[in-house]
Symmetry: C2
Subunit: 292 residues, 2 copies
Amino acid sequence: MDERSALGLIADRLEPAGDDAAIVDGLVVTIDMLHESTDFPVGTTRYTAGWRAVGASLSDVAAMGAEPTAAVAVYGAPTFDGAEITAFVDGARDVCAAVDGAYVGGDLDEHEEFTVATAAVGRTDDPVLRSGASPGDIVCVTGTLGRSAAALGLFETGEYERANDLFRFEPRVGAGRALAPYASAMMDSSDGLARSLHQLAEASDVGFAVESPLPIDEALEEVTAPEERQEVAVSFGEDFELVCTIPPENLDAAREASPTRLTSIGRVTADGEITLDGEPLADRGFTHGESA
Amino acid sequence: MDERSALGLIADRLEPAGDDAAIVDGLVVTIDMLHESTDFPVGTTRYTAGWRAVGASLSDVAAMGAEPTAAVAVYGAPTFDGAEITAFVDGARDVCAAVDGAYVGGDLDEHEEFTVATAAVGRTDDPVLRSGASPGDIVCVTGTLGRSAAALGLFETGEYERANDLFRFEPRVGAGRALAPYASAMMDSSDGLARSLHQLAEASDVGFAVESPLPIDEALEEVTAPEERQEVAVSFGEDFELVCTIPPENLDAAREASPTRLTSIGRVTADGEITLDGEPLADRGFTHGESA
């Protein structure tokens, strides 16, 4: 069974599942697991790992339009090296500080493969779900796409310092909160824009007509041939930007409110099709354990 | 660096660390990671794994005297088998239902080793910390000690059904909430009674004089020689009982309030020594990756 079918199985057994985070009484709760073979390329520092792992959970909180309250992490590794653990905790703490959240603690686990689990808790009285998009809404994305793909290319060529810089993304908490009053649906792009659109389409029972140019990260120019850039930006994922839909009358206000650049990339349609420049956009993306 | 020194390093960098769960604005948050090589013996069903993993986080909430609000889990495995995932989710859901908590969702991760991360969130306005014990208080333990050690023995002899039954503990949420108004300090016994006493002693700057007989689980009789039982019950851990200290004037009321049997096993002392029947009780216990 592939990961997506299996996730469907979980969702079927749990009513509240199916968004970036679970919601209980105004609390949002999310948990993630990242590990060396699929998430931390050779050259990833422990500081970056701590930042990125906790950032992934904060991104889920952001995608609900919620305010992060606290994050925790478990650091699993074959050996406990003081400098590595300190760097990891510093990264975890710094990414929380960057979004006014609190990194409040964690645990250790002796594990054959470097494996990190993170959880974050947030608050919102009015979560933005994946299911609220309506035909005619504008689909928007924060920041740029392809940044993590660029980082991976730089890890492969040994440019570790720049790769680590690119790998430490800022969770879009400020944007998520600013967009919440205006957005009809929202999620993060951790599985890639293409897959995010398919998931929003399924949850909202709509389609999407997306038009280039897309906001592609400049760093992708260094590691990808021109003709491949858009494909990589759309399908690679792991960027942790927000993908949201906004009724046209809210667009100007949303753009003004967002602390992060918000790019309109198309429209919500009624026909259920998902297209990029008029061509079908396949439901492909980064799934852990599959290639991008 | 061993796990305990490394945890000290984390605590040094994070003010709120050092209890069973972190506390932020009346919320308690905890995260745990369990995996096949150290936590799930051959014969452990996925249902038991889901129950036990989520139960471990609920136990941390219980140890703060808090009410669990929600729990989440990540299921990491080499392959996603529908029946196994369903069983895992059912176990997670059932342990939450057993303590009036809500299992609200989770995620999947393709991982070479079966690895589970769980987080739980709870609420309390008046958390019970490890640091409140005073000389003269009575030290008590809920339930029995040695149940998980007995389960492990039964897994080794292939008595999987009984082993699984013993491995599915009831998190002491009801007892934790009932004892909270009376207890001066509390934690769970997940690392074993001996280690719990040493941790409480360090946090409260006290000692403990513990006297046998201890409430040893009957099941331990089947797998352990009589002369070893007390040692195993004291040091093996993984039982997820509550260890607490209670001022003598509160003891009767605490016992009456607790839905789980509460056994008085000794007294808090001022001398910093930790003794069992007058002999020093070493700070030994189950640490992941070490032998019991």
